[in-house]
Structure formats: C-alpha cells, structure tokens
Amino acid sequence: MNDQVLAFETDCHLFQECGFPAPSVWSFIFDPIFSVGPIEFNKAMLLALLGTVAILSFFWAAFARPKVVPGKLQMVAEAGYDFVRKGVAREIMGKKGEPYVPLLVSLFFFVWVMNLWAVVPLAQFPVTSAIAFPAGLAVVVWVTYMTVTFKTNGFVGGLRNLCVPSGLPKGIYVILTPIEFISNVFLRPFTMAVRLFANMFAGHLLLLLFIIGTWYTLGTVVGTFYSITSFALALVLTVFEMFIQALQAYVFVVLTATYLSQALEEAH
C-alpha cells in the first residue's frame, strides 16, 4: 500500500547511515492498482477518473437545472464559465470564438482539476505530470487547430495560413516559411504538452523534495530545526503550486484560443 501512496522510503532519517531519499523519476511511477492483461491501471488513471466525476458532478449540480436567479453553487460555476467564455474566448477570438467555448471550458476545468490533484490530501499527485494526459489534450487541440485552419481557408489557404505570415519583405519568406511550418504544425502541440507536463512535474518534485526533507531531517534536535524550515517552505510552495496549477490551465486554454483564432483569420 505504501508503495502506491507514498513516493519515498519512510524508515530512513538523518544521521542514520542512509542517504537522503531524493525524489526522482521513480516518484512518478506507481505500482499498478490492478492489471487487465498487459494494461496496468495506476494511480494517475484513478485520479483522472475521480477528477472527471468531480467536474461532472459539480457542473451537473450547478448547470443541469439552472435558475434565472442563481443559487450559490450556480453562481460560482457561472463565474468559472464566464471567466473562460468572456476572459479567454471573447477576449482572444471575439465573436467568432463562440462555437469553441465548450472546448475551451472543458479544457480549462479538466486541466485545472487534474493539476489540482497535486495538493489534494491523500491523492497528492498531479495527473498532468504524466505526459500521456497533456499529450492527449495537445492532440485534441492540434486536430481542432488543423481542422479549423483547412476548413476556413481551404487547402492552399490553410497552408498559407500555417506557413506564410503576411506583411514581410519577400526575401524573408525563404527562411521563414519552413520555420513557420515546423513551428505551427509540429512544435506547437509538442510545446503545449511539454509546458504543462514539465510545470506539473517540476512542481511535484519541488513539493516532494521539501516534504521528504521534512520527514528525513526529523528525529534529532538539530534535525528538527532543518525539519521546521523545510516544512515551512513546503507550505509556501504548496500555495505557490496552487497558483501555478490555475495559471497553467489558463495558459493552456489561452494558447488553444490563440491558435484557433489564428486559424480563423482570413487569408490576406
């Protein structure tokens, strides 16, 4: 059980002839909860499913039978919805963004809740620090981006939209066109996935470092001072992580909206 819940060796302390069990890539790999043939069901998957249930129940309770004069729950959910619809879709894409609001709203809340698992007691593992989840979302965004680009501009116009930014001196295009193509078609989804993954991965490592440090240094008088310092930092970083989690979810939808807005731009 410990191997699934705790990510480090628990019976080792400072001055006990054993090294600091520093967090590593291993901290992100858990024993499967169960396996079906070669498919292993792990903690990240479980949290993803639980998070989905949480999102759905919250928004179902708030939006399934909405009232013109909202209750508290509906008001909070509306604030979240408005934040994405007005703050992201309307702000970046304008009126044309309205059809993409459901995508942006689901992306934002999915990413945010999956990030949020990092600070939920007992779970304490960001689902998005497993690259499979950000990668899956990036693929969804990429497919939407490409579809919208070619649907709006046609095949040639779509290619021009992706490769040829307008309003530059002619000679520049020789260099810029391949760069733009690679950047828009290949790097964008990759960086999108890696940005989210790396932020969550690093954040989790940081929290682990200080929490393991708190435990490891505990025991002797001198160690307790280290321990208290480490714990204080863990608390501060937890708050900081919560900020980063929301920020990364926001960045993810802002990038999606930016790409889609670019795809919707008419060719010049």
Partner: protein
C-alpha cells in the same frame, strides 16, 4: 518503488498508452457533457436573465414614454383650453362692443324719435295755439272794435270771414316779405 529499480524507469517524456486512452476518454466525457447538455442549459438561462433585465428596462422605458405622451396630451389640452378661453373672451368682447354699438344706435334712434315727436308736438301745439290765438285775437279785436265803434257787429259769420281774410293777408305779407327781399337782392 525500489523493487522496480532493476528494470530502470521509463522515460517520463514517453506517454503510457493506457493513460493516453484514459485521459482522452475522461476529457471526451467532460467535453460531451458540456457541449450537449450543460452549456446549452446555462446559456439558455443566461439569455433569459439578460432578457429579463432588458425586459424590465424596456418596460420602464415604455412607462416613461407613456408618461411623456400623457404630459404632452395634457399640455396640448391646456393650450387648447387657453386658446378657447382667449377666443371666447375675444368673442365676448366683440359681442359686447356690438351690443354697445347697437344700444347706442338704438338710443340715438329713440332720441331722434323723441325729438321728432317733440317737434311734432310743438308744431301741433303751436298750430293749436295759433288757432286759438287767431280765434281769441279775432274775438278780442271784434269786441274791441265793437266797443270802439259802439255797435255790435252782429253778423258773426261775416266778421269771422273778415278777420280771417285780414289775418291771411297778414300771413301772406309775412311770407312775401322775405321772398320780395330775395327778389330785390337778385335784381
């Protein structure tokens, strides 16, 4: 964890396929729920709310417009009433003036009537007086003459004729005198 060390950790940048599948599945469910049910539902209510607010504002605007219209009509009625009053006053003034003129005319007419009646009366009185005077003068003159002559002139009728003739001569003379003067002047 430690027991897995022998195998070496997987590269964290390589996705685990079941995780990709689960992630897409979860996201798909969330997207579907938002797209099909939750967002249309909340959008409808948001629209209703917006309409309710705008409807209230429209109602207030309509009430205001009605009030303005009522005020306008009152003002119009007031102006009309003022106009009517002025017209009536003017008419009354004109009627009064006409009445006064009529009455003045009537007065004038009555005055003239009275005056002419007076003149006629005076003329009649004068004639009567003249008649009486003529008789009296005749009688007195006869009497006087009788006394002077010493005999009664009995033939009354003849006396009367004589007197009348005399008086007529007198009148004729009186009438001829101015015309004679006029004839003399013309000559």
């Amino acid at each position: 964890m430690i027991n897995m060390a022998a195998e070496g950790p997987q590269n964290p940048l390589l996705p685990v396929w079941p995780e990709v599948f689960i992630g897409l599945f979860c996201f798909g469910i969330i997207f579907f729920a938002f797209y099909k049910k939750l967002l249309p539902s909340i959008n409808k209510v948001l629209e209703e709310r917006r309409e309710a607010i705008e409807g209230g504002m429209e109602k207030a605007e309509a009430t205001q417009a009605e009030a303005r219209q009522t005020l306008e009509s009152y003002k119009e009625q007031l102006a009309e009433a003022r106009h009517d009053a002025a017209r009536l006053r003017q008419e009354a003034k004109e009627q009064g003036a006409a009445l006064i003129a009529e009455m003045r005319e009537e007065g004038q007419r009555q005055r003239e009537e009275i005056i002419s009646a007076g003149h006629a009366q005076i003329e009649a009185d004068r004639k009567q007086a003249a008649e009486l005077l003529r008789q009296d003068v005749g009688r007195l003159a006869t009497e006087l003459a009788g006394r002077l002559v010493g005999e009664a002139l009995e033939d009354h009728a003849r006396q009367s004729r004589t007197i009348d003739r005399f008086l007529a001569e007198l009148e004729e003379k009186a009438a001829a005198a101015p015309s004679g003067d006029a004839a003399g002047a013309a000559r």
